[in-house]
Amino acid sequence: MSSRRSRQQSGSSRISDDQIIELVSKLRQLVPEIRDRRSDKVSASKVLQETCNYIRNLHREVDDLSERLSQLLATIDADSAEASIIRSLINQ
């Protein structure tokens, strides 16, 4: 397999382009925005942009969920919390 090595002044000259293409395609499979569209004409920069947006969305969702969880934890006392948690572990 021919891996193109472009020597530049920066020290990271041993990264092959094929490797990057493979990683970008893997990333593309994960991000639902790009996965649901036609996936053969998406450029690398668009993949990166959508990835950043997706990660930011996930962060925001986790933040919202943490807020809700903290409010729930504040309003219920320890006993019923533990009971419901144990119940959940059994039911799963």
């Binding site: 493979e22 990683l23 990835t51 990660i55 986790v62 969920l65 807020e67 934890l73 959940s88």
Partner: protein, 192 residues
């Protein structure tokens, strides 16, 4: 040739994984095959139980609830992140970075953002580091700021960390949603 093959392999194993959630994700020849299968139910169960434990500690600590405490949300978030990193078993860089900095990551990040924004107006990009197109480089830099602990990573490693981080975050959202609904359902039952 072989890159196409590994692409086909990963797609195959991905569809297999959707139907059989316990199968480990087979990555190609270059990467480490021991990453955590974030999509499996077992992992989610492990994470949920660990998270429930940790939250119980937080709850116990705050149980005589101080009335002015407004950052419990952040505590929950940090606990969730720490448990997530612990579930990753420390094999990925972002998990190690989360575990290594128990200080308030968000405060540091906010300060860092302000400093960084002030600095980029003055600094100029040296012309010889145009390894990738500058647009892609800028996006890669954005990405490296979002994934914890990946600021100085090379581009392919950064992408690898990002893929793992995204799967882990998705699992975190799923687990926390389930837990929230459970607790909400539990409270309404207890009240009735």
């Amino acid at each position: 040739m072989s890159s196409l093959q590994s692409n086909v392999d990963s797609t195959n194993s991905e569809t297999l994984q959707r139907s059989n959630p316990k199968k480990r994700r087979k990555i190609g020849h270059t990467n480490s095959p021991t990453l955590v299968p974030w999509r499996s139910d077992t992992q989610q169960r492990i994470y949920s139980s660990k998270l429930a434990d940790a939250l119980r500690h937080v709850l116990r600590r705050n149980h005589p609830p101080p009335p002015v405490k407004s950052n419990t949300g952040r505590e929950v978030r940090e606990t969730a992140d720490r448990v997530l990193a612990a579930t990753a078993k420390g094999r990925t860089r972002w998990s190690r970075a989360i575990l290594a900095s128990p200080l308030n990551r968000w405060k540091l990040r906010r300060m860092h953002k302000k400093v960084h924004k002030a600095a980029t107006g003055l600094g100029k990009r040296p012309p010889e580091t145009r390894r990738r197109l500058p647009v892609v480089q800028k996006k890669a830099r954005l990405l490296s700021r979002l994934v914890p602990g990946c600021r100085k990573l090379s581009f392919p490693n950064l992408l690898e960390e990002a893929t793992d981080y995204i799967s882990a975050l998705e699992m975190q959202v799923r687990a926390m949603t389930a837990l929230t609904e459970l607790l909400a359902g539990g409270t309404s039952q207890a009240a009735a």
